[in-house]
Structure formats: C-alpha cells, structure tokens
C-alpha cells in the first residue's frame, strides 16, 4: 500500500464524458494487478471530503499506471480538469484482484460502460489469443477505442443500448449467445459494469454452472478495511454476513454475493 503524490502525465477525453488519466508512480505501477484499485484525493480542500476509488486499467512501462473514468459527479468533474504535471494524492494499489483462469478455461471478459476499466488490464494480461472480450455501452459515443485501451489485437464484440454500434441491446445478450452456442468450451467469466448488468451476468453464469468473477463498486471511505463502510451482503452460503468491497474485493466470485440485496 503506497500513499503518495503522483504526477499526472496525461488526462485526455477518450469518449463521451470519459477520460483516461496517466499517473506516474513506479511503486504503484510495479505492484498493480488486474482488479486492483487506487483511492484518489481529488481536492486539497474538504469538499469533496473523501477519496474516490478507481480501478487501475493499465500499467505502461516501469513508471506509469492508467485509470479510465467517467464524469458522474463533483469529484470526477474536478479530476477531469487536472492538467499535466498536477500532483494528485493516490493511495494504492488496493483490494483483491482477479484470480487468473485455469489453463483449460476460455476467459470471457464482459464489460459495461466504464466498467471496462479493470477488464482492460485483465485483457492485456491474458492476451487476445486466449481471452474473448465483449463490451456494452449506452451509445456509440461512449465507446472507448481499442487503441486507447491498448487492446489492438482484440476482436471486441460490442453492444449498445441504442444500436448506434454493434448489437442493439445488452452485452449480456452477447454473452448468452456465445456460451449457448459454444457449449463445448469451458468458459470462465470476468465481468465489471453497472449492477443490473452484473446481476444478469451472475444469474446467467450461475444457471449454467460457469465460474464468474465480478468487480463490484460500493461507496468507500477508507479503502483499506478500516471503516466497514463498503459492506455488501454475502450469499447465505458464506461464512460471513457482509463482505467489505475494499478488502475482500472488489473482485468476488459472483456466487458468493447476495445479489438480491444489491440495489
């Protein structure tokens, strides 16, 4: 766990309201694994007060890690204005990342919107010869380009809610299609995106007995397991009632989560 001021190397708009930020930190770049996240303090004042969590979406070279984020509120709006050279207080890498698939498994990576961030990192690590990648967006303007993702070698299946690109509908349609028409494969699903999407992925994989890891979001205060603010209810089969997303996750096996309790 590193706590340092990291210099912004770049901070560019890469899709509608979506930014890619490169932050310089040898220590974090070194330790980061797919699924890990960082907590960023967006303002030196007290409003907003809390750090904001962001998945590490890529590591470049020795010294740079990337985050991909969407402007949804005050904190991300402030972040989007950070210029090159600005120093942001960053805590990380944090959390438990993805477990790598077994060698016989076909990893299927499923992303919804900016939930593609941790998926990008995982995809880079797995390599396109192995993994499949499907991504859903609300509309074509929100699609983050393959080049930007460092995933040029991937054949990404796209779905959009409004049909402006790829499949008209949800990325879960693509997933369902794929697993149902490739029954001989031994798939293993890795997903990140909005909760309704994750619920669908969880149900879909569960009913077919496909192992599935999801990266969850939650409001967080500390990011390290100290405040217990980031609780999500565990499935009844688990030994504990609540998981802490920051410490026990953010990546969980989907079967260990009580999906019916998630809003």
């Amino acid at each position: 766990m590193i706590d340092q001021y990291a210099s912004v190397r770049f901070n560019e708009k890469v899709a509608q309201e979506t930014f890619l930020m490169g932050l310089e930190s040898q220590e974090i770049a070194n330790k980061a694994e797919p699924g890990h996240f960082v907590m960023i303090r967006v303002s030196e004042g007290t409003d907003p007060l809390l750090r904001r969590p962001f998945s590490i979406c890529s590591v470049e070279g020795e010294n740079l890690f990337l985050i991909l984020y969407r402007i949804v509120g005050q904190g991300t709006l402030i972040m989007s204005k950070a210029g090159k050279g600005e120093r942001l207080s960053v805590l990380g890498p944090l959390g438990r990342g993805f477990e790598m698939p077994q060698s016989e498994e076909v990893p299927i990576l499923v992303a919804g919107g900016v939930g593609i961030a941790p998926i990008i990192f995982l995809a880079q690590r797995l390599g396109s010869h192995k993994a499949l990648l499907m991504a859903g967006f609300r509309t074509s303007d929100e699609i983050v380009d393959k080049k930007v993702c460092g995933l040029l070698d991937y054949q990404i299946s796209i779905a959009t809610d409004d049909g402006t690109a790829g499949h008209l509908g949800f990325v879960t349609d693509l997933l369902e299609d794929h697993v149902d028409s490739n029954k001989k494969e031994t798939p293993s699903v890795f997903a990140c995106g909005p909760t309704p999407m994750l619920k669908k992925v969880a149900a879909l994989t569960q009913s077919r007995g496909i192992p599935c890891q999801v990266s969850l979001e939650s409001l967080m205060a500390c990011g390290v397991g100290a405040c217990q603010g980031c609780a999500v209810q565990a499935a009844s089969a688990e030994k504990q009632a609540y998981f802490h997303v920051c410490e026990d996750g953010p990546v969980f096996y989907s079967k260990s989560i009580a999906w019916e309790c998630l809003a």
Binding site: T46, L49, C222, A226, G229, A231, Y242
Partner: protein, 346 residues
Amino acid sequence: MNSGLGQGFSILQHDDSNSCRFGLAQSRVLYARFITWNNIMDKIDLRVRIGSLELKNPVMTASGTFGYGQEFYPLVDPGQLGAVVVKGLSLKPRIGNPPPRIVETPSGMLNAIGLANIGLERFLKEKLPWLENMNAVVIVNIYGHSVAEYGEVAAGLKGVAGISGIEVNVSCPNVECGGMAFGTDPEVTARVTEQVLKNSDKPVIVKLSPNVTDIRSVARAAESAGADGLSVINTLTGMVIDIEKRVPKLANLLGGLSGPAIRPVALHKVYQVVQAVHIPVIGLGGIVNHRDALEFLIAGARAVQVGTANFMKPTATLDIIEGLRVYCEEQGIARIEDLIGTLEVN
C-alpha cells in the same frame, strides 16, 4: 524516522489544504527554521498524561476509523501514536447494519456502520498480539446493549496485558432504556460508568455524545461516577435523502456526522466540558491537521483523536504529531503540556 529532515519537509509539502492558511511565506519560514532548529526539535516534550496513562504524544486514532490498528500499516506504525483506540467492541461479534452505511456530506460524512465488530474474543486473539508487538498503546472502545453488558465487556478485558485503557461508547442509538441513547441521560451515563469501573482494572474514559442540550451535566455525571477521563465528541446525528428515489441514503435512515464539518461544534463542546470537570478531556471531531489539533489542546483538551481524517489522508496522525512539534518549536514551547488550556478569554 520521525524527526529526520526528510520527513519534516514532506509534511510541509504534503500537508492538506488547510495548511495553506499558513500562507506560503510562513511555511517557508517554518521550513527554514526547521532546518536551523532541527536539533532542538527532538527535545520538545510531547508527552501528556491522561490520569495514570502517560502517552508519548497527544495524538490518538478515533474509534471506528482506524480498524484494529493494522489496516493502515505500514503507512502508519501504531507504535508511534499516542494511543490507538480500536473499533468499538461488543461481547459478541456484530455484523452491523445493511448497506448503504456511509454517505458523503459537505466537509463531512455520515456513517451508520452499526458497530460491526469481530467481538471481544477474536480481538484479543487475532488483533491484540500484533498491536502489542508494535508497542502500541491500546485503548479499547467498548459498547454494550445494556448496563450489564458494558460491565461484561469490561470484565473480559480485566487483567489483559497490552491494553492501557477502556473508552466507553455511551452514544449508541438502540438500547435498553426506551430507545434513548445512554449518553444523552446523565443518570444512565453514570450507571454505565460505574458498572464498567466496577469490572475494570484500567483507566476508564467515557465518550460523550454531542446530541444533548447540556453536555456539561452528562460530563459531570461521568466524573462523579469515577471516570478517569472523557472523550468529546462522538458524532452528531444526521440524515441525507436520495431525491431521485425519495428514500434515505443510509439504509439505517440516520447516521453519525463526522469530519471537518463538525469541528466548530466539537471544539465548543470540548471547551464547555473542560470548564465543567476536573478530569482530563480528550478532544475530537473534525481534526484534520495539526492546526486543528492545536485548537483543541489550547481549549483545554489533554489529547486529541483523529477520525475521519484518516480516510482523507492515512498518515494524518503522524503528520499532526510532527506539526505539533514544529509549532511548539516555533512558539518556544518546550513541553506541549504547557500549551494545554492556554486559551485567553475576555
């Protein structure tokens, strides 16, 4: 490591925004003097006494914001702190409230964790040895559903080495006596205090609720019952509504407000309590940097606790200790105890 030049400098650079209030010129002066006086600085005596408890410095963590002392390691070595106050413990483990449990507010946050904790037994087995090993001064924050249960938790800590004190949280919302929080009633506060004292061989600090008309009368009740010290304040009750869904943002509806937003309220309560009792007072509520901590010490608190600031900046406690040192040096104060309660009021 704590008094080296590198660290001193990094504080002046990295300290949070409020340190801007120094003015740039001033922090430059500070830095210059810091070099010059580096030798002297080591000699500043930051020790404080809370009754029979001697602390190496007046900065503690606030219960519930620093886990069991290990979560921010290695960023913060708990052995360097005045004391570590751990998450509120009950006799049996508690799973806590359903989420959402926290929500951010202007310069503050609400929490309704619901006193989730691993229970006394697991704490003693799994957490305490590490803290002992780190030479941390450990204060255990305790909580019970009834007066009797407070006593039971205290009894469970009796004779346990490695625990320097007990902090009694009497500000929990759902309890025995008619749904009224213990800590808002002087009489019940006194009863809880007595019960804990009866079952304990350690200094007992009672943590007061600010949600009362007259905190002095609750403070006096705890004092009369024999409390060794008082922690002031716990959170203010508050609420936030989701206007899209028209539901409370916290599953628990109400939560406890903490953070810089409440600092002026906390400081006033501390000042009031200091005037009202003779036992030591530990001040907390919204302390982010050493300047905030100084306000509480000057108002008469003998030590401070840092809560929500740990989330903003994990090393907040260490930076405050260093900042206190620099301030004392600047002001020619050899022992921080000489600063306590030096507020001048017309």
